[in-house]
């Protein structure tokens, strides 16, 4: 039985659609297989970081003062305009480092916690930044912000699991502000300002590998002293270069529970697969154009017919 042109075209359309579906699914699967071989990102060889031990911190806030001085975040920046100085209640556009207090209502335990950029091994902020405004140094792993390319979209601010990057909400030249491990001081061979002033060595600076060893040594020498007998940041969120030892639960000092797979690696998996080499979009596009082309010719015929019937100019 011969196929009418209508049926043929219909079958062609259905066939193209099916082909497109099959083609893109297989492409996605293939790229999925290809990408699943990708290893998880690791810290660079000379990755530096900090180790913070809540059992040693006395809440003196010398680190807050030192950070403000080293980064030119002067008290003037904190004024509300009526001469009143603001004490930061959180990291913000003039506070790159802060000490907070965990003190539950029953007061049975308390802890200080130092908060600043965690310098993640696989940073979510870097993964989301459109034009590489936030970049991770290949040598030291320090994440820095580039004012020349940042568009101020604040995607980094909402995607950071530790709520670190902060936006300057005032003024018409806003910046993204976050700890950059005092990169100028590091370049001179010095250590960051906060670690250099801590009187009790609650926060220390060093290579990430060395700090991990130090942390594990402390845990071994004082079993039961540190929460869960482990160091936070070894694997959390893919690993961070700023590590925490705490005598209270990590959630209580604001360190979120994270899986060992980093957010970009876990959540952007399918995005990467679908857009790999733009293969899937290209296949879909090609098949769509094919179908549309067939229908377009028909549509043009209809338009001509209508024009003849009504005497009015055809409308596309």
């Amino acid at each position: 039985m011969a196929l009418s042109r209508r049926d043929a075209l219909k079958k062609f359309a259905v066939g193209s659609a099916a082909a497109a579906a099959v083609g893109s699914t297989s492409l996605v699967t293939l790229s999925g297989v290809a990408h699943s071989e990708e290893p998880a990102p690791v810290a660079p060889k000379n990755a530096v970081g900090m180790l913070y031990d809540t059992t040693r911190c006395i809440g003196c806030q010398s680190c807050v003062v030192a950070c403000a001085e080293a980064n030119n975040l002067l008290p003037e920046a904190m004024k509300l305009g009526d001469g009143v100085h603001l004490t930061a209640s959180d990291l913000n556009s003039f506070t790159k480092n802060i000490i907070k207090l965990y003190k539950p209502v029953d007061g049975k335990e308390y802890s200080f916690v130092k908060q600043q950029c965690m310098q993640c091994v696989d940073p979510t902020c870097v993964a989301g930044c459109m034009f590489k405004g936030l970049q991770k140094d290949k040598n030291t792993g320090v994440i820095t912000w580039n004012s020349k390319v940042c568009v101020g979209c604040r995607y980094c601010e909402i995607s950071c699991p530790f709520h670190v990057p902060k936006f300057q909400w005032q003024g018409f030249n806003p910046k993204i502000v976050k700890c950059e491990l005092c990169k100028e001081r590091l370049a001179k061979g010095d250590q960051p300002a906060c670690t250099s002033v801590c009187p009790t060595h609650a926060v220390i600076f060093g290579k990430r590998d060395d700090l991990l060893i130090e942390a594990k040594t402390r845990i071994k020498n004082h079993p039961g002293k540190y929460h869960e007998d482990r160091v936070y940041g070894e694997t959390e969120g893919g690993g961070t270069q700023v590590l925490y030892l705490s005598h209270v639960a990590f959630e209580n000092i604001g360190l979120p529970k994270l899986e060992s797979e980093s957010v970009p690696r876990k959540y952007l998996k399918w995005q990467k697969r679908v857009y790999s080499y733009l293969a899937v979009p290209a296949v879909l596009y090609a098949s769509m154009v094919g179908v549309i082309n067939g229908n377009w010719k028909k549509h043009q015929e209809h338009m001509k017919e209508d024009e003849e019937k009504t005497g009015l100019r055809a409308q596309l």
Binding site: A127, G128, F172, L268, Q271, T310
Partner: protein, 424 residues
């Protein structure tokens, strides 16, 4: 209004442009532009309620992520018409394309207001600077490309028609231009479907990086797929609702067959969408979250309720050719879709404990104002260009009215069969 068959597109000829409501809408738009100046001078903080926890406010999450979903009529109706060969939908294509273009234009303009350092946006033209893994990059490249190239091109025919009719000296030029355009038309139209598919899904991918701070009932690897699927039915709902509303306020005939077909397609899209959504939640073992006694479960059920009721209303109104119910149905479907696309960005997103966000008055006014600008542009366009569908005899009525106007004869208020009131 009466019920007819839509054959071609006819401008709104029986209503003057500068009515009171139109002036009000323009005033809202002008107010928004004035407030934008304030935002540019004093920064985002004073002009909005955004804070360090909720760094994305309604300008991004609503005007862009939600309203461009509504403005996906060109995308979804286009695919239904051109790929699935729903011929009858061609007559509403121009309306769909115009609503899409205006939704995108107003959204993208507001995006320019929302970003903090817009002078650096030129890096979008330097591919070596692109971070290819970023979903936001995909949106930033794809959305303006789509709006300024395929979508704009698809909106050109009504303008060409206007010139063809009103400026006879350009006729040969226009016909030549059309010939050139028609040669590449399928390529352009194909782009007009693949690009929105990409960036509407990337809009969904944006909140993937929220990780587990987006509530489990919304966070899923299927988020991009669900977003673009939702854009599909939201586009239908928006265009159908617009058509019904325009028919109402300008006393134009409407075509229940076309609208019923749109209803059925919309119902099918919503139904399959809901199936995938719920299936995904069940497969990932998150169904328990839907029965927790908290606001997130409540939001989820409101969404499901709206969309479930919408399906019923859509099918019912199509069966009984009930225009009132149709309008309600599309309204409910649109609200359900908007709620779905809005939730993971704000209501179901808890960036850190204790965080709260509510847009400030200025933020609301700017948001509403930009939508008003889009509406004002829409009203201006449909009153001057042949965009809204109508029966063929409406065209003759329009021409007759023009003759009367030229010859100085008294103009009757309108040529509609039934008396109605001019609302807009």
């Amino acid at each position: 209004m009466n019920i007819e068959r839509w054959d071609r597109c006819v401008p709104v000829f029986n209503v003057p442009l500068l009515t009171k409501p139109f002036k009000l809408i323009c005033a809202l738009g002008a107010l928004a532009l004035g407030l934008v100046t304030y935002r540019e001078l004093s920064g985002l903080g004073p002009a909005s309620g955004m804070n360090d926890a909720y760094a994305w406010g309604i300008w991004k999450t609503f005007n862009i992520m939600v309203l461009t979903g509504l403005g996906s009529g060109g995308f979804s109706i286009g695919i239904a018409a051109w790929i699935f060969r729903r011929h009858r939908l061609h007559v509403v294509m121009r309306t769909a394309l115009l609503t899409s273009f205006l939704a995108y234009a107003s959204g993208l303009m507001l995006l320019g207001v929302d970003v903090g350092r817009p002078w650096n946006f030129y890096w979008v033209f330097t591919p070596w600077r692109w971070n290819l893994h970023s979903p936001l990059l995909e949106v930033a490249v794809c959305m303006p490309t789509y709006a300024m190239f395929p979508l704009l091109m698809e909106n050109v025919p009504p303008v060409l028609d206007w010139f063809h009719k009103r400026r006879p000296q350009f006729r040969p030029l226009i016909e030549k231009a059309e010939k050139v355009m028609y040669k590449f038309y399928p390529l352009v139209v194909g782009l007009a479907y693949i690009l929105p598919a990409m960036h509407q899904s990337s809009l969904g991918a944006l909140m993937l990086l929220g990780g587990n701070r987006v509530h489990g009932l919304w966070q899923t690897p299927l988020l991009p797929l669900l977003y673009v699927w939702a854009a599909a039915f939201m586009g239908f709902a928006c265009v159908a609702g617009t058509l019904l509303f325009c028919s109402l306020v300008w006393d134009r005939p409407f075509d229940v067959d076309v609208l019923s077909e749109m209803n059925r397609i919309t119902a099918w899209i919503i139904g399959s969408w809901m199936f995938v959504r719920i299936f995904d939640i069940v497969i990932e073992g998150k169904i328990g979250l839907a029965f927790a006694m908290n606001i997130y479960a409540g939001l989820f059920w409101i969404e499901m309720l709206f969309l479930g009721v919408a399906i019923v209303m859509l099918i019912d109104s199509a069966k009984y050719k009930d225009a009132r119910l149709m309008f309600h149905a599309h309204l409910v479907a649109a609200v359900g879709g908007m709620l779905y696309r809005f939730n993971p960005t704000t209501l179901a997103f808890q960036p850190k404990p204790g965080a709260f966000y509510f847009p400030s008055a200025i933020e609301l006014l700017i948001s509403v104002g930009f939508v008003s600008l889009a509406i004002a542009a829409f009203v201006w366009a449909v009153k001057n260009l042949a965009i809204l569908p109508a029966p063929t005899y409406s065209w003759y009525q329009m021409e007759a009215r023009e003759q009367d106007a030229k010859s100085g004869a008294a103009l009757t208020p309108n040529y509609a069969v039934t008396d109605s009131n001019i609302l807009l």
